[in-house]
C-alpha cells in the first residue's frame, strides 16, 4: 500500500507543475500588466520602461515564470488591487471559512446519505425505498441557489434559528471558545443546505451499489456459512458498496471547495467562492489567478486523496 501511495504522490508533482504553467500562461494572456492600471497617468513612458525593467517584466517568459513560482512557494501570491493587501493574507482568511463550510456540509452529507442509501438499497422497491428515491429525484431537480434561499428564508428569517449572513458574530475576539462556536453556528445552515441537495447523488450511488452487491456470489457464500442477514449486510455488502463513494470522496471535497459559490453568495458567507465571484466582477486579476491555481491544486489533491482512500479500502488496487 505504501508503495502505491508514494508512486501516486510522485505523479502529483508533474500535475501541479503543469497546472502552474497553465495558470501562468493564462495570466500572461490577459491584457495589460501591473503598470498599466495602477499607475498615475502623468508618469512618462520612459519611467514606466525603467520600472518594467526593474520589476523584471521585460524578461523572457521562463524567467518571469521562475520568479512567479519562487514567489509562490514562499507564499507570495502578489497584491490584490481591490483590497490593497497581499493576496496570501486575503485568501488565507477566506480559505478557513470555506474549509469549515465544506467540512460541515460533508459531515451532514454522509450522516444523511449513508443511512438512507443503506435502507434504500437493502429494502429496494419497498415503499420506504420509493420515498427515498422520490426525495432523490426532487433533490436532483432542485437548483441549489433556490433551495438555499428557501432555507435562509424559513430558518434564518421566519424562525430565526440561524444567523442570516457572515461567518462569525461581530465583536467576538478571535481565538476564544465563543468565536469558534459562532463560526460553526454560522456554517451550519449553509452547510445543511448544500448537504440536503448534494446527498442525493451519494444516496443513489450507494443504493445501486448495494442492490448490485447483494446479488453477488460471495454474498451467497456468506449466507451459506450461516451468517445472519445483518451480518451479511454489515460485513460483506456494505464494505463492497462504499468503494465508489470512497472514490467520490476526494472529488466531493474539490467540488465543495470550488463549488460553494452560490450558497456563499446567498448566505453572504465570506468564503473563497464569493471572493472568486467578486474578483472576476472587479477584474482583480491577481486574486483570480491565485484562486484558479488554488482550485486546480485542490482538485489534484482531491484526486490524490480519492486514490489513497480507495487503495486503503480496496486491496486489488494496491498491487498494480
Amino acid at each position: 500500500m505504501w508503495k502505491f501511495i508514494i508512486r501516486r504522490l510522485l505523479i502529483t508533482f508533474p500535475q501541479l507543475v503543469f497546472l502552474s504553467v497553465l495558470v501562468f500562461i493564462m495570466a500572461q494572456m490577459m491584457p495589460g500588466d501591473a503598470l498599466t492600471g495602477l499607475i498615475d497617468p502623468t508618469i512618462t513612458a520612459e519611467a514606466l520602461d525603467l520600472q518594467r525593467e526593474r520589476l523584471g517584466l521585460n524578461n523572457p517568459w521562463y524567467i518571469q515564470y521562475a520568479d512567479w513560482v519562487s514567489g509562490l512557494v514562499q507564499g507570495d501570491l502578489g497584491q490584490s488591487f481591490r483590497f490593497k493587501m497581499d493576496v496570501t493574507a486575503l485568501i488565507s482568511e477566506r480559505v478557513m471559512n470555506t474549509i469549515l463550510l465544506s467540512a460541515v456540509s460533508l459531515i451532514f452529507t454522509y450522516i444523511i446519505a449513508i443511512p438512507l442509501g443503506i435502507v434504500s438499497g437493502r429494502y429496494n422497491d419497498s415503499p420506504l425505498d420509493s420515498v427515498i428515491t422520490g426525495y432523490s429525484y426532487l433533490g436532483f431537480a432542485t437548483p441549489i441557489f433556490i433551495f438555499a434561499l428557501v432555507m435562509l428564508w424559513i430558518f434564518g428569517f421566519q424562525l430565526g434559528w440561524f444567523p442570516t449572513s457572515g461567518s462569525v458574530a461581530p465583536g467576538l475576539e478571535s481565538g476564544t471558545m465563543e468565536y469558534y462556536i459562532s463560526k460553526l453556528y454560522h456554517a451550519l445552515l449553509p452547510g445543511l443546505s448544500i448537504a440536503l441537495i448534494s446527498v442525493v447523488s451519494t444516496i443513489q450511488y450507494l443504493r445501486s451499489e448495494i442492490v448490485d452487491t447483494k446479488q453477488k456470489d460471495f454474498i451467497v457464500t456468506a449466507r451459506a456459512k450461516g451468517a445472519s442477514e445483518n451480518r451479511v449486510y454489515n460485513k460483506h455488502i456494505f464494505r463492497n458498496s462504499i468503494l465508489p463513494i470512497a472514490a467520490f470522496f476526494g472529488w466531493e471535497i474539490t467540488s465543495l471547495i470550488s463549488g460553494t459559490v452560490f450558497v456563499e453568495s446567498v448566505f453572504s458567507y465570506p468564503g473563497m467562492g464569493l471572493l472568486f465571484l467578486e474578483s472576476i466582477m472587479q477584474r482583480d486579476f491577481s486574486v483570480v489567478t491565485s484562486l484558479v491555481l488554488l482550485f486546480g491544486a485542490a482538485s489534484i489533491l482531491g484526486a490524490l486523496l480519492s486514490d489513497i482512500i480507495l487503495s486503503i479500502v480496496d486491496p486489488r488496487i494496491r498491487i498494480k
Partner: protein
C-alpha cells in the same frame, strides 16, 4: 433406515415470472445416507442447482414446498435463526465459480475464520487462526501462513476453489453439497480438485451431494446417481446399475453423448431443455426430444417405477426407446 441423513420428500421449488410461479424443481423425492455420495446429473437448466440451493435454503425469492429433513428436522419450515445455526455447520456447500464466490475485500484467513466464528464460539481467536492454518494445509495449499493474509485476487482459480472447500469443511459438516465444483476450472485443475474432494471424503465422513454434468466424475466418485431432467428426477440408481443398465431415454442419450474412441461423430440430443415458462406440465417431459417414439408409449402422468431394487425410472417410454441410426437422425434434423 437409521442411517438416513437427508430425506427430501415432494420438494417443489418455484420462481415467480410475471404473476405466476413456475417450478424449477418439481416434486423431487430422494434420500441420502450418511457417508454416501449421491451424484446428480443433468443438462444446464435441469434444476440441479435449484435443488442444491433449496436444500441450503439459499434462494432469496423462491417458493419452496415439500419436505427437506436433515437428521429428522425439516429445513423448509425452520426459522431463519435456526437455519443459520445449521448452515455452515451441519450442512455446507461448495460453489461453482471460485472467482466470484469469495469476498474480494476480505483476507482469505478471515473468510475461513468467519464460519468458525459463527459456529464454534468456544474456539478463541488463537484457536481459530490455528484451525484456519490447519484447514489451508488440509486442502493442499502450501505456505498457509502467507495465504492467510492474502486476498482472493492474489490466488489462482484452483487455489480459490480449495479455499472455498476449506470454508465448507471447516466445521466438519455432515452434509456437503458440491454444486459443479469443477465447472469453472480448467481440465488439469479439475482433476486436482476432484482428487481433493475424494481425499476429503475419506477424512470428513460426510454425506455428499455432487452436482455435475460430467458423467465421468459421477462414475468415479458417486455411490448412487440421480438423473434430472426439466426439474424432475427421471432415473435414480446405484452408479454400477446406472452405467450398466441405463433405462430412461434421457439417461441413455446422456451416456451416448460421451465421446468414445473410434467414434467419428458425437451423439447430440435433439432440441434443448425447455425453459421454465414453456415447460409442458403434463405428460412425459422428454417426449418432445424423442419425437420418433410413438406418443402412446408415454404415460399420461409419468411416475417413477422401480424396475429393480433401488433403481427407479420415470415414464414407460423407456421400454420403447431406441436410437435412430445416423441416416434417419439426419433426415429427422432436416425435416
Amino acid at each position: 433406515m437409521t442411517n438416513e441423513l437427508l430425506k427430501i420428500k415432494n420438494l417443489t421449488t418455484s420462481f415467480r415470472i410475471g404473476d405466476e410461479y413456475y417450478a424449477a424443481v418439481d416434486d423431487v423425492s430422494l434420500t441420502l445416507n450418511k457417508n454416501e455420495v449421491l451424484g446428480i446429473v443433468g443438462e444446464s437448466g435441469s434444476g440441479k442447482s435449484a435443488l442444491a440451493f433449496s436444500i441450503m435454503r439459499l434462494h432469496t425469492r423462491a417458493k419452496i414446498e415439500g419436505e427437506i429433513s436433515l437428521n429428522n428436522r425439516n429445513i423448509v419450515e425452520m426459522s431463519k435463526s435456526k437455519l443459520n445455526k445449521i448452515r455452515g455447520d451441519e450442512m455446507a456447500m461448495i460453489f461453482q465459480d471460485p472467482l466470484t464466490a469469495l469476498n474480494p475485500l476480505m483476507p482469505i484467513g478471515r473468510q475461513i475464520e468467519e464460519t468458525l466464528f459463527l459456529h464454534n464460539k468456544r474456539l478463541g481467536q488463537q484457536g481459530r487462526k490455528k484451525r484456519v492454518i490447519e484447514l489451508i494445509n488440509l486442502v493442499g495449499i502450501p505456505r498457509a501462513e502467507r495465504v492467510y493474509e492474502q486476498f482472493p485476487h492474489e490466488l489462482s482459480g484452483g487455489m480459490r476453489q480449495r479455499i472455498i472447500i476449506a470454508i465448507a469443511i471447516a466445521n466438519d459438516p455432515e452434509l456437503l453439497i458440491a454444486d459443479e465444483p469443477t465447472t469453472a476450472l480448467d481440465v488439469t485443475i479439475q482433476a486436482q480438485i476432484l482428487d481433493l474432494i475424494r481425499e476429503l471424503k475419506e477424512k470428513i465422513h460426510a454425506g455428499i451431494i455432487l452436482i455435475t454434468h460430467d458423467l465421468g466424475v459421477v462414475a468415479e466418485m458417486a455411490d448412487r446417481v440421480a438423473v434430472m431432467y426439466a426439474g424432475q428426477i427421471v432415473e435414480i440408481a446405484t452408479v454400477e446399475r446406472l452405467f450398466e443398465n441405463p433405462l430412461h431415454p434421457y439417461t441413455r442419450s446422456l451416456l451416448n453423448s460421451v465421446p468414445t474412441e473410434g467414434q467419428d461423430r458425437l451423439h447430440v440430443i435433439q432440441g434443448v431443455v425447455p425453459s421454465l415458462k414453456n415447460l409442458p406440465r403434463t405428460g412425459c417431459r422428454f417426449a418432445e426430444r424423442i419425437p420418433w417414439v410413438d406418443a402412446s408409449y408415454h404415460e399420461e402422468n409419468p411416475t417413477l417405477h422401480e424396475v429393480e431394487s433401488g433403481h427407479f425410472v420415470r415414464c414407460t417410454c423407456h421400454k420403447h426407446f431406441y436410437f435412430l441410426d445416423k441416416k434417419e437422425e439426419q433426415e429427422n434434423v432436416v425435416s
